[in-house]
Amino acid sequence: MLVALVGCSGDDEGSKKDAAPTSSGETASAVETDARLGVVKGRLGKKRSQGVLTAVTAVVERWFDRGYGGDYPRGDFGAAFGEFTKDARALAVRQSGVTSNAKVGPKLEGVEMVRRAIRVDVAAPNGRPAGATARVRLKFTMSGGVERTDLVTGRLLLTPTEDGWKVFGFDLRRGEEAP
């Protein structure tokens, strides 16, 4: 069953003018993600800052879509970590109950996204991006064998590589939200 997606509110800190164009586009879902620049350190300039925001947001959105969104029921969530480094991917798979819907995926009939928000902090010593922290907040409602609303919050840690921005670490919490 296809996911139904709802746009999210934008009540976090961050500036609207720094919002990134978003394109989740992984499934038939076109989720509106509230993505903004957070703290930018270093002389990066507006255009390049926006470039980092767009690139990092795209990585995070693909993780959102492949890890929690998509068609259900399903049991394969390996694609969720395609932009994680090798070691980070192995660790994410080991913690897949938090980092994806892998543990409940086969029982689900669908997932409805409620909120997707990303704030991107960037460090750019010497005018070049060296690392970014994506602070994330993802809220979604599951239906089928599991009926509940979950909230995933925390940080993805990224550095730029020759193949684009990669997630090398994460600090995530997942909890059940009261209805």
Binding site: V40, A92, N126, A130, G131, L157, T159, G169, L172, G175
Partner: protein, 299 residues
């Protein structure tokens, strides 16, 4: 929220104190981070990072990388589990220094800089550091001040008529600037001398780390720290992105999974000088114990 499951991990990574180097405050020589070239050595698990943290007793005008290292702590971080451990090496430990015969371990910095000191301590423990970080006492004081002071858990009251006449009371003690430095320097009035001083240095590291963890969730904290590090730290062979991963690794260490031991030994006499004769078997045991998971089960 009813239930919370938390996962904290880093995949690729590295390790230590670098991110708390304050912005603009230290002098350019106050902190140096050196990546150790590994031509030989132990097979370290990819999830592990080892950093030799060195307090350099350099006086103004002296090169902090070519004096005697005064505080020596080998810190291991398991980036997969968030565990960390510190092995304190008494400064006067009499050891073999590659290419320089036998001497006090802290003389290795004088003879061959951070690389030689790293190899010397690495040979003693059987675990080679990936990095050597050298901080001057003045730099450490400014760093502690810049992060707003730290709190340590002090097991006994002690003082020093020259360094800290008022002393430090037993229990949780808040330290700022030079108070922190002296806490890690005082030796003569401690019952265990050099060994107790090394344990106090570990308490300082824990205090600094707790402060980092408390601030890590603050937006831009790591990014601000990285900028400061790049401006103020001498980084030899370490890229900004690598530093970013180091900083994140430190912030991800779980304070509840931090262990520490001080290398035991006896007091000896070499050429009329009092030295520590380290328990080499214990050194190897600590290294073996912590090598794969940054945890020492028994000191």
């Amino acid at each position: 929220m009813h239930t919370v499951i938390r996962t904290t991990i880093l995949g690729v990574v590295l390790g230590l104190v670098a991110l708390v180097v304050p912005d603009s405050t230290p002098g350019p020589q106050d902190f140096t981070l050196v990546k150790v070239e590994r031509a030989e050595g132990v097979d370290v698990e990819p999830d592990m990072i080892w950093i030799l943290a060195v307090g350099s007793d350099a006086r103004p005008g002296e090169n902090p990388l070519r004096v005697r290292g005064d505080a020596l702590q080998m810190v291991g971080i398991n980036t997969r589990t968030g565990a960390a451990t510190s092995i304190g090496i008494p400064r006067d430990s009499w050891v073999s220094i590659p290419g320089a015969g036998s001497n006090r371990v802290n003389a290795a910095l004088y003879y061959g800089g951070p690389q030689l000191l790293g190899r010397t301590v690495g040979n003693l423990l059987g675990v080679q550091p990936d990095y050597v970080m050298v901080a001057t006492f003045g730099g450490l004081a400014r760093m502690v001040r810049a992060i707003g002071g730290i709190t340590v858990d002090n097991p006994r009251r002690f003082s020093d008529q020259y360094l800290q006449p008022g002393g430090y009371r037993k229990g949780k003690v808040r330290l700022n600037g030079m108070e922190a430095v002296e806490f890690g320097r005082i030796r003569k009035t401690l019952p265990g001398g050099d060994f107790d001083r090394s344990a106090n240095q570990q308490r300082l590291l824990r205090g600094i780390h707790r402060k980092i963890v408390a601030k890590a969730d603050k937006p831009g904290f790591i990014e601000t720290g990285l900028m400061s590090v790049v401006r103020n730290l001498h980084t030899k062979g370490v890229s900004p992105s690598e530093l970013f991963r180091i900083a994140q690794a430190v912030a991800q260490v779980d304070p509840g999974k931090v262990t520490g031991c001080v290398l035991p030994g006896g007091i000896g006499n070499v050429g009329g000088a009092s030295v520590v004769l380290p328990n080499v078997a214990a050194a190897k045991r600590y290294g073996n114990d912590a090598r794969k998971d940054a945890t020492i089960r028994r000191c």
